[in-house]
């Protein structure tokens, strides 16, 4: 049985090798742009109904965690459909690679929220900026398997995250727009990059 297992593992390795050198076409511009619009809507609703978010951090972050969950579900669902269509037999390996690239940043974002919320509630104003920086790190990690323009969106998230950190530190303060605008611009930028990317290219 070990020979068969070794043979199957070798075939899986070859497939992963091909997946790693293929541009991932699982991300769809529609889902990405929708999540950007969703961020703007949540920012607008919070700015109307949430006086000073620093006094109600739970409501503020519950809104943004909901945006993150909905975004992951939307992008994930479209990713599965598009991967099946564009990558055929390589779809599972490509999805697996994409999850591997984004998982560390996602896990770090969740851990930071839990740690700051539990042990340093006075420092929660840092979360929006830190989350944006983490999104940029996830995108930078995925750049080799995505269209080259992804670098632009990753750079935007990094600069926006640092700027939000500096602006929030002045108060310190929390603002729905400081979360919503950078995320919306980043997602729409990413959607445009994916939309205008050439059809059949391999990662180089």
């Amino acid at each position: 049985m070990s020979d068969y297992r070794k043979a199957l593992s070798d075939i899986a390795d070859i497939r992963s090798q091909i997946a790693a050198s293929t541009t991932f076409r699982g991300f769809g511009p529609a889902a990405l742009a929708t999540t950007g619009v969703l961020a703007l809507i949540v920012a607008a609703v919070q700015s109307v109904f949430l006086g000073n978010p620093l006094e109600m951090p739970l409501a503020f972050f519950a809104g943004w965690i909901s945006v993150a969950v909905v975004s992951v579900a939307l992008i994930g669902a479209e990713m599965v459909v598009r991967s099946r269509r564009h990558h055929g037999g390589l779809a599972d390996s490509m999805i697996h690679n994409a999850i591997q690239q984004f998982l560390p940043a996602g896990a770090a974002g969740a851990a930071l929220a839990a740690i700051l919320g539990r042990f340093a509630p006075d420092a929660v104003w840092m979360l929006p900026g830190l989350w944006l920086v983490l999104v940029s790190l996830g995108l930078f990690a995925a750049v080799p398997s995505l269209p080259r323009g992804t670098m632009l969106a990753a750079g935007w998230y990094f600069v926006a995250g640092c700027t939000v950190l500096m602006l929030s530190a002045a108060g310190p303060s929390l603002s729905p727009w400081m979360m919503g605008v950078p995320f919306a611009v980043g997602q729409v930028l990413l959607a445009a990059v994916i939309f205008f990317a050439p059809g059949e290219t391999d990662a180089e």
Partner: protein
Amino acid sequence: MPSKTSAPFSYEGLDRVIHEKARLGIMTSLAGQPKGLSFADLKRLCGLTDGNLSRHLQVLEEGGFVHIDKGYEGKRPLTTCRLTPAGKARFLDYLAVLERVVRDAAGVETAGADPLLKTSKA
């Protein structure tokens, strides 16, 4: 053509062009190389002579599996080979069938069943 249920071990998708030792080596070498490999690198990786490699590359090129670029690096001629999108897709299909072959073989051995009996029950 035998159906999948009547002849489960016919493995129709096992492409005959790829299913040859040297050509399988060439396809596997090129699989993870989007920029392709030089003729010299392929020769070394697959342990083939110039003549053999040329012959097999010609078969693969005629089948639309690989694209061969003949250019120059400085003043030296450089031949580069890479998989075409269609070649990559067919290689992935080939891998899927190969995987099925291994799983079937492992299943038959584990069950200790006579494949003929197993087939007639299917």
